[in-house]
């Protein structure tokens, strides 16, 4: 227990940041601040992916979530002039429900950790997953290769985009 490796220290620091920022993201009263705390949570997740050797997913996390989705959030907040403060009173019944849900989640996670292990134990350490392998898995058609889901997701995205354009141009 005494000799913490550098990886452990980084992990616990990142985990602490993720936990604190997740809580702040839902408790803060200002909507842009919540988006910023969400950004830090996403950074932390990216760091954890990178620590697992999955740097590709870490970079995708930065690019898609931090650089894309949070930017989209902030853009829409800027454009919609939403009220800056949103202090809601939480009723007693709701508070009980929140606590029950949190406790259930904690029990499930602890059960998983106790019965399985941390993911870090199951994979080779200090090895970066080569991007070439990820690419082959993404567009191969063998077992454990994912060309079909990949294509279906792209069709779904095209459909979403066409739908969005249709809604935006309805006045014509």
């Amino acid at each position: 227990m005494m000799d913490l490796s550098l990886l452990d220290i980084t992990f616990y620091a990142t985990a602490a940041v993720i936990i604190v920022c997740s809580i702040l993201a839902v408790t803060t009263g200002r909507i842009v601040r919540s988006a910023t705390y969400l950004l830090f949570v996403l950074f932390g997740t990216g760091v954890i992916y990178s620590m697992l050797g999955y740097t590709y997913l870490g970079a995708v996390q930065l690019m898609v979530y931090a650089g894309g989705i949070v930017v989209l959030y902030i853009f829409s907040i800027l454009l919609t002039r939403s009220s800056q403060t949103m202090r809601y009173r939480i009723g007693r019944g709701r508070l009980a429900a929140v606590l029950a849900a949190t406790a259930t989640g904690a029990v499930l996670v602890i059960f998983l950790l106790a019965s399985q292990h941390f993911a870090l134990v199951a994979i080779p350490q200090g090895v970066e997953l080569p991007a070439r392998e990820i690419g082959h898995a993404m567009i191969g058609s063998d077992k454990y290769q994912y060309v079909l889901p990949f294509e279906i997701v792209s069709v779904l995205l095209v459909a979403c985009m066409i739908g969005a354009i249709l809604i935006a141009r309805r006045h014509k």
């Binding site: 550098l6 842009v32 601040r33 690019m63 931090a66 650089g67 930017v71 853009f75 800027l78």
Partner: protein, 361 residues
């Protein structure tokens, strides 16, 4: 070929430190040393770039530029400015979101330093090396726009919000072109690791290997890179006449200094990535067949090549900045979505065909 490889130096430093103390401590110390090195280099380069910008700008406007402070050439002008800005008061605003207001410059500088750390200075002198290097640079640099948006919003002023929205729309759009041109060069190199991209150009630089598509990609990259760095003719986010200074109007002292620093270093990073992808990074100029020339070129250290090429591209970008008039926001977006983006898709296709049919050198 490998006269200036500093990998062995790195290993001997690590070996010495590890023999003196536990390895974890040694790695921590090395990390701190490298981190300090990056920050110092970052600040020094900013001084050099600002001085260069002032001289280049003056030359294009038929002026002399800084020429009083520090004797001939005004070499001490920029260091004096740095000292002045360090002593300035950081003003805090009323009715502004103090936390986000203070956070925004750091987000901008963070994105910039992350991408800065990926540049290939020399053989063995890369700081962050990953299998996905160039993709990480794209991902890290996409954080900067968040800092700009937050700065604009949290200053609680309409000029800054307009500046931030303009700049956000522009950067998000031009990221597409940058991504596609980088993809073109990744197709040519067959790898995303920055050092391997440089090693691939051992015989001939990419811009010659990929001939027509590479040349087109280089032009598109330079245009889009200029827009990413928020520099003229795409500096409408900080259009002085309409918006005073755009998203950083309300910042003072070193907070403003951070935005300024990041702008210049983003210019350097854009140029550095351009010289890595197209002009061979630290790789000396080689022509297959001319062994005598290649041997002579190898005597010049890689870091000289890298810095030289990067400053050449920086000069090209400054030339563009001080030559063209500023575009309007609709012109900027039209240029990207109607011309550059389709063009970069065609370039990707062209490069794929060239690589498949073996038409690259």
């Amino acid at each position: 070929m490998n006269y200036y490889d500093i990998n062995s130096l790195n290993q001997s430093i690590h070996g010495t430190l590890s023999s003196l103390m536990p390895e974890g401590l040694a790695i921590t110390l090395e990390g701190i040393a490298v981190g300090l090195l990056i920050i110092v280099l970052y600040a020094l380069l900013a001084i050099v770039l600002i001085y260069m910008e002032r001289r280049v700008c003056a030359a294009f406007q038929c002026r002399i530029g800084p020429n009083r402070v520090g004797g001939r050439g005004g070499l001490l002008q920029v260091p004096a400015d740095v000292l002045k800005i360090l002593t300035k008061e950081i003003i805090s605003l009323r009715h502004a979101d103090r936390f986000l207001y203070n956070l925004a410059p750091f987000l901008v500088i963070l994105a910039s330093i992350f991408s800065f750390a990926c540049l290939p200075w020399n053989q063995g002198a890369e700081i962050l090396r990953m299998d996905i290097g160039i993709f990480f640079v794209l991902a890290a640099s996409s954080i900067g726009v968040l800092g700009i948006l937050l700065a604009g919003w949290s200053s609680n002023s309409k000029y800054t919000v307009i500046g931030a929205v303009r700049s956000g729309a522009m950067i998000i759009s031009y990221e597409l072109s940058i991504g596609l041109t980088v993809l073109t060069m990744v197709l040519l190199s067959g790898t995303m690791d920055i050092q391997e991209i440089v090693m691939e150009q051992e015989h001939l630089w990419n811009i010659f290997r990929g001939h027509i598509p590479a040349l087109l990609a280089f032009c598109v990259y330079l245009i889009a890179g200029n827009a990413e760095a928020n520099r003229g003719p795409f500096d409408l986010a900080e259009a002085e006449q309409e918006l005073t200074a755009g998203y950083h109007t309300e910042y003072s002292g070193m907070h403003f200094g951070f935005f300024y620093l990041a702008e210049y270093l983003n210019l350097f990073i854009t140029a550095g990535i351009a010289s890595t992808l197209f002009l061979g990074g630290w790789m000396p100029f080689h022509i297959p067949g001319l062994d005598g020339l290649n041997a002579v070129m190898d005597w010049i250290p890689g870091v000289v090549w890298f810095v030289g090429k990067t400053f050449a591209v920086v000069f090209l970008l400054m030339w563009i900045r001080w030559t063209f008039p500023r575009l309007r926001i609709d012109q900027v977006l039209t240029l990207e979505w109607k011309y550059l983006m389709p063009l970069s898709l065609v370039i990707v296709l062209l490069m794929t065909l060239c690589v498949i049919f073996g038409l690259v050198l």
